[in-house]
């Protein structure tokens, strides 16, 4: 995600056009993180909206030492934690995993439907569903580290800013997540 200090400064002045530009620039990343964390597109959209609202309300307190995108990730991750805690409190298991969204409009990145047979499309969709389901089954602290590292491509330094946890701990969390996912997906023969 790109940070544009001039746009951020204008948003701080209450410029709605600048705010809209920031939402447009960052929304896909925030939506994707929330989706992978929560396994639920509707909840992800709520979290993404709340993330931007919280960010705009708090822009006067934004110190500019961290990147705006890092700051957004941090707010979004915290919002996701709140949702997950509330779910745990209600003893509800997320049944609305990404693969079960029934959203056929979403295609894996980098694939072109017209170049695949219907069987291949179905296979890819089933595989994506299994991967997404396995991701949602990870413990939240491993899931959030893994998502930031391997879905969003953040460096450990950036992740440390987002999660407030040192790099060594984050490496261990990502390692555990990778190990668990590999084990689970190998058992499902997603290879």
């Amino acid at each position: 995600m790109r940070d544009d200090p001039a746009v951020i400064a204008r948003a701080r002045q209450g410029d709605h056009e600048a705010m809209a530009a920031l939402v447009a620039e960052h929304s896909s990343a925030i939506l994707t993180v929330a989706w992978r964390m929560l396994g639920d597109r509707a909840a992800a959209e709520d979290v993404a909206q709340e993330t931007f609202l919280a960010a705009f309300r708090a822009l006067p307190g934004f110190r500019g030492e961290a990147r705006f995108s890092t700051w957004l990730y941090r707010i979004a991750v915290n919002r996701c934690r709140d949702v997950l805690r509330a779910r745990a409190h209600r003893r509800e298991i997320a049944a609305d995993a990404p693969g079960e969204d029934g959203d056929s409009s979403v295609e894996p990145v980098g694939t072109s439907p017209e170049h695949r047979t219907p069987e291949q499309v179905l296979l890819d969709r089933q595989q994506a569903s299994q991967v997404a389901d396995a991701l949602v089954r990870l413990q939240p602290i491993y899931r959030e580290a893994f998502v930031l590292r391997h879905v969003e491509g953040l460096s450990y330094e950036e992740m440390s800013e987002v999660l407030g946890v040192d790099g060594g701990t984050l490496r261990m969390r990502v390692y555990k997540a990778r190990k668990e996912l590999s084990h689970e997906l190998a058992a499902l023969a997603v290879r």
């Binding site: 939402v23 447009a24 896909s28 989706w35 992800a44 609202l53």
Partner: protein, 219 residues
């Protein structure tokens, strides 16, 4: 260089292997079929994850977000100027009482809790192990305020997370459990007025012209 094979694989997957490490890994992979299998499984998994779809915003996502923003309490276009940001002064006796309250509270709650009920939502992750927590009480005198919240590093600068409780005679207070560290924060009065803590021992500029208070929670 640590040539533990598991560590080599993890560093490889993180793109953090130097040349010597890569050579050590290749050498190891040539001799260890099980390690090759594991690395292939990890690579296949990461490839599958990389192929997952991203979630694009719906066409009206931006518009709906801005509408919701308009429906929430307005934010001043600029952090309130330093003079205007000062909270309305309470009678001198009340300020002294509040300051005394802060000192007493700080003294009273100097102890630490080894097993907090929950990690604060801001900087700290979902705790894997008990994290030492320090109980801190913050006080603000704002007799005319309807609501006061504290926002800072420890709660992701979220005005909804840490509301202050109104006590008698316009004294507002909040008690926080924080891990040792250095935090920046402000008070948000009536959802629209950002002010630095007049009782803070230290303030700092946030780089955008506003003033943050600094809270040093000792280890």
């Amino acid at each position: 260089m640590d040539h533990d094979p598991e560590l080599l694989v993890q560093r490889f997957l993180d793109g953090e292997l130097d040349r010597a490490g890569r050579r050590a890994l290749l050498d190891r992979l040539g001799r260890d079929a099980a390690l090759r299998e594991r690395l292939l499984a990890d690579e296949a998994m990461l490839e599958a994850v990389a192929g997952l779809p991203r979630l694009a915003p719906s066409d009206d996502f931006v518009a709906r977000t801005l509408v919701r923003l308009a429906d929430t309490p307005a934010q001043p276009p600029e952090p309130v100027a330093r003079n205007a940001a000062r909270p309305r002064r309470a009678p001198r006796w009340l300020q002294v009482a509040a300051a005394a309250s802060l000192l007493v509270a700080a003294g009273y709650w100097a102890g630490r809790t080894a097993t907090p009920p929950a990690a604060p939502p801001g900087l700290v992750g979902l705790a894997e192990a008990p994290v030492e927590q320090v109980v801190v009480r913050l006080v603000l005198v704002e007799p005319t305020a309807r609501t006061v919240a504290i926002v800072g590093d420890f709660n992701g600068w979220d005005p909804m997370r840490s509301p202050l409780e109104r006590l008698n005679q316009g004294v507002w207070t909040a008690t926080l459990e924080l891990p040792p560290g250095r935090y920046h924060y402000q008070f948000l009065v009536d959802g629209e007025r950002w002010i630095a803590d007049p009782l803070a021992q230290e303030t700092t500029f946030d780089g955008f012209g506003a003033q943050n208070s600094v809270l040093d929670v000792g280890a």
